[in-house]
């Protein structure tokens, strides 16, 4: 049974309010904010990529304030160690003089973690971080400690100054729900920023989402219906991005080395649900899928050198898939008959 319209309206209003507040914090980045909220509602980790000074850190900071959740920032550097992130056992002496190893949680034990310039940390540290992201728990010396719920990692990375950096391996990039490119803003927005912001500092938010409201949003997300045809469409998008797929486009065969994993399909479905919620709909539509397909897939499609020579980007590949794939090209009757058999 679909969620009632009134209930959904309440949750949509909260989500829209969150979006509105984010728009106030960082001017001219509405689409980025929207994707950020979709990512939060999907309980996914987000990788923000952009040049220095476009507002990545400010955005995540503002989000932490709006979410009214525990927020921590980790500045990744080459000498950063896993223990700096995850925490460790340290020897402590109590008032009776007894000494024992006590776990000191790292910076990752927070609801929202900003992993600033994640590609500057060593692979060892990155791996520790990314493992925690996937498992949502930290295992240290045989003891597994769950991370707080909700748990989001909002990482940022700089696409330039790659010397002395450690690019995140593709397999680990897959842990991020979205990879959002934060671009610069136009002159009007810039004028607005410099006229309204003293030294560029965003205004302090006057409103913040409560824990109950956030839980309500997550509950509503679970009740957003993903219909069979839409699910089939998501599956076909992901499947056709593989070079060895029978109906793969010629450019995909020539340019794609590895296609997205099944996790990508799950991510699209979840993100599409959040997009539907944001639109105030209890059902996931094809447009929701199309809206989130690019940020979900663009870091999951691994291109070969041929693509680099031809200046083909993952975004181009996704665009071609969306252009050529017909949402209605399914034999619904046959598909519907299968579960009955």
């Amino acid at each position: 049974m679909l969620i009632e319209p009134q209930q959904l309206k309440e949750h949509q209003d909260i989500a829209l309010k969150l979006l509105e507040e984010l728009d106030k914090i960082l001017l001219g980045q509405h689409e980025v904010h929207k994707l950020l909220i979709i990512g939060i509602l999907s309980k996914g980790h987000i990788l923000l990529e952009g040049l220095p000074g476009v507002g990545k850190t400010a955005l995540v900071k503002g989000l932490g304030l709006l979410m009214n959740l525990e927020f921590k920032r980790i500045q990744f550097t080459p000498d950063l160690l896993p223990a700096d992130i995850l925490g460790g056992n340290i020897l402590q002496q109590d008032q009776h003089g007894n000494r024992s190893l006590v776990f000191q949680p790292g910076a990752i034990f927070a609801n929202i973690v900003l992993a600033d310039e994640i590609n500057r940390a060593s692979p060892k540290t990155q791996s520790a971080m990314l493992e925690a992201m996937q498992e949502r728990a930290v295992t240290l010396q045989g003891t597994t400690r769950p991370l707080p719920d909700p748990f989001f990692v909002l990482a940022s990375q700089n696409p330039i100054e790659l010397e002395g950096t450690y690019p995140i391996p593709e397999a680990q990039l897959d842990r991020f729900l979205f990879k959002i490119s934060v671009t610069g803003v136009n002159a009007d927005v810039l004028a607005q920023i410099i006229s309204q912001r003293r030294r560029g500092e965003p205004p302090a938010p006057t409103w913040a989402i409560t824990k109950d409201q956030l839980d309500g949003l997550f509950d509503a997300m679970d009740r957003i219906h993903l219909s069979g045809p839409v699910a089939n469409y998501i599956a076909r998008i992901v499947a056709s991005a593989h070079p060895d797929a029978p109906n793969a486009h010629e450019s995909i065969r020539n340019c794609v080395r590895f296609g997205p994993s099944p996790r990508a399909a799950i991510a699209i479905a979840e993100a599409a649900r959040a997009a539907a919620l944001l639109e105030g709909r209890p059902t996931v539509g094809f447009d929701d899928v199309i809206a989130v397909a690019k940020p979900v897939l663009n870091h999951r499609i691994i291109l070969n050198y041929q693509a680099k020579l031809e200046n083909i980007t993952p975004e181009t590949i996704v665009d071609r898939i969306l252009d050529t794939l017909d949402p209605a090209a399914i034999d619904w009757d046959k598909l519907h008959a299968k579960p009955q058999e």
């Binding site: 049974m1 219906h225 839409v230």
Partner: protein, 437 residues
């Protein structure tokens, strides 16, 4: 939905069909100057319309997917937000799906445009049907009948010179010859040659009629001459009963013989006396003799090949006798032929077959054959057996030129004269050649 799609496809296909038939009609009118008649095109139009309807129905079905597929398609293309797709697998509850806005199909014209296209096609079709063809000379394939017409005309002229009593009949034949040119149609050569043969028969019949009349006149004159001579010999000119009888006889004859009437008027002059004088009777006898001689000459000409005592040359019977006495025998003919006539059909043997006229040759011993004398064939030269009838041949009206109808693909069976090129009838030529040699 299906019917709307069907009608939409049907209109498009019919538009194409109308254009096609418009082109066909126009080409017909421009090339063979054929007038459009519905009956010419009714069957193909009906058949093609049925085919068009079938094609439209198939296309309508192909354009319309199943209901589920249609819902999914509508959901995706009308930005319905997944409601229509969701309705396939779960209840929407209190949610009212937004009204799907069906996007326009770009590759189809809308109704208005389609109607305009169809209207233009109809106008074109009607315009093609009424395209003027009066300015075009009707091209007709004609047989080369110059020789036949000339022969008929010569024959008729000769008959006109010799026969004065059958003027109306000859006039009718003359008209028929004139109409021959109008009835000349190479697409129906049989009819044309039938008409020529009919005119020929009419001329022959007129000749016979003329001959019969002349012979009757000759006989009457002979009798009258004999009677007058008898009266003169017996010197009974004054006896009134004989003279009254003669006057009655002359009156009767005059009614049926204009020549005789003129003759009598010439002899009597201005005299109103009923009785003829002795001198007048003598003059009458003399003139009768002279007139009879002329008529006999005409009769002899009309009799063609009939033998008479005065002229034996050219007579068929005398020709037959001459041929019997002078014609070479089969053996002599064979000797005259190169290689002794051994150039015939070999019947599969390695030797040449002898050319013989009887059953003495090898392999022809038992052949049934009948020898026909050459004289028997002479009469038949130039004649065509049209049939056997008891009554004399009826004059045949010249048939109007048959309108060429589209689809009449009868090949020309006879010589045609088209665009200055004369094609001789091979079969007639062959027959002529046969009788010449």
């Amino acid at each position: 939905m299906l019917w709307a799609e069907f009608i939409r496809s049907l209109i498009r296909f019919l538009t194409v069909e109308i254009w096609f038939y418009g082109m066909v009609i126009l080409v017909h009118r421009l090339t063979i100057s054929s007038v459009f008649t519905l009956s010419n095109y009714l069957v193909p139009v009906l058949l093609s319309t049925l085919l068009v309807a079938l094609a439209a129905w198939i296309e309508a079905h192909r354009h319309l997917p199943s209901a589920a597929k249609l819902l999914i398609w509508l959901d995706a293309h009308s930005h319905a937000g997944g409601f229509l797709a969701t309705s396939l697998d779960t209840s929407l509850g209190s949610w009212q799906p937004p009204e799907p806005s069906i996007p326009k199909i770009n590759h189809f014209h809308d109704w208005k445009t389609s109607a305009i296209h169809t209207l233009i096609a109809c106008l074109f079709c009607i315009g093609a049907a009424i395209f003027p063809i009066e300015h075009k000379t009707q091209q007709q394939f004609k047989l080369d009948l110059t020789e036949e017409t000339k022969q008929l005309q010569e024959k008729l002229d000769m008959l006109k010179d010799q026969s004065e009593d059958i003027t109306e009949q000859l006039e009718s034949i003359s008209n028929a010859i004139e109409q021959l040119d109008q009835a000349n149609d190479a697409t129906a050569p049989d009819e044309v040659y039938k008409l020529i043969d009919s005119i020929n028969s009419r001329i022959d019949y007129a000749e016979q009629q003329s001959l019969i009349k002349i012979e009757k006149q000759i006989e009457t004159r002979d009798n009258l001459e004999a009677l007058l001579e008898e009266l003169l010999k017996q010197d009974k000119l004054d006896s009134s009963p004989e003279m009254q009888e003669l006057a009655k006889l002359l009156d009767t004859l005059v009614l049926s013989d204009k020549d005789l009437e003129m003759l009598l008027q010439d002899i009597k002059g201005n005299s109103q006396a009923q009785k003829l004088t002795k001198e007048q009777i003598k003059e009458l006898i003399e003139k009768l003799k002279k007139q009879n001689h002329q008529k006999k000459t005409i009769a002899a000409k009309l009799k063609k090949c009939e033998c008479n005592q005065e002229n034996g040359e050219g007579c068929c019977e005398s020709l037959a006798v001459w041929l019997e006495n002078n014609a070479p025998g089969a053996a002599q003919l064979q000797d005259l032929l190169p290689e002794g006539g051994m150039q015939g059909i070999s019947r599969g043997e390695q030797t040449t077959a002898p050319l013989t006229y009887d059953n003495t040759a090898k392999g022809f011993e038992n052949a049934k054959h009948k020898s026909i004398p050459l004289s028997a064939l002479a009469d038949q030269e130039g004649s065509i057996l049209m049939g056997v009838a008891k009554s004399p041949p009826e004059p045949q009206q010249a048939q109007p030129i048959q309108q060429h109808t589209p689809g009449n693909l009868n090949p020309a069976k006879a010589p045609v004269k088209s665009q200055g090129k004369t094609i001789q009838p091979r079969h007639r030529k062959a027959v002529d050649e046969y009788f010449k040699h």
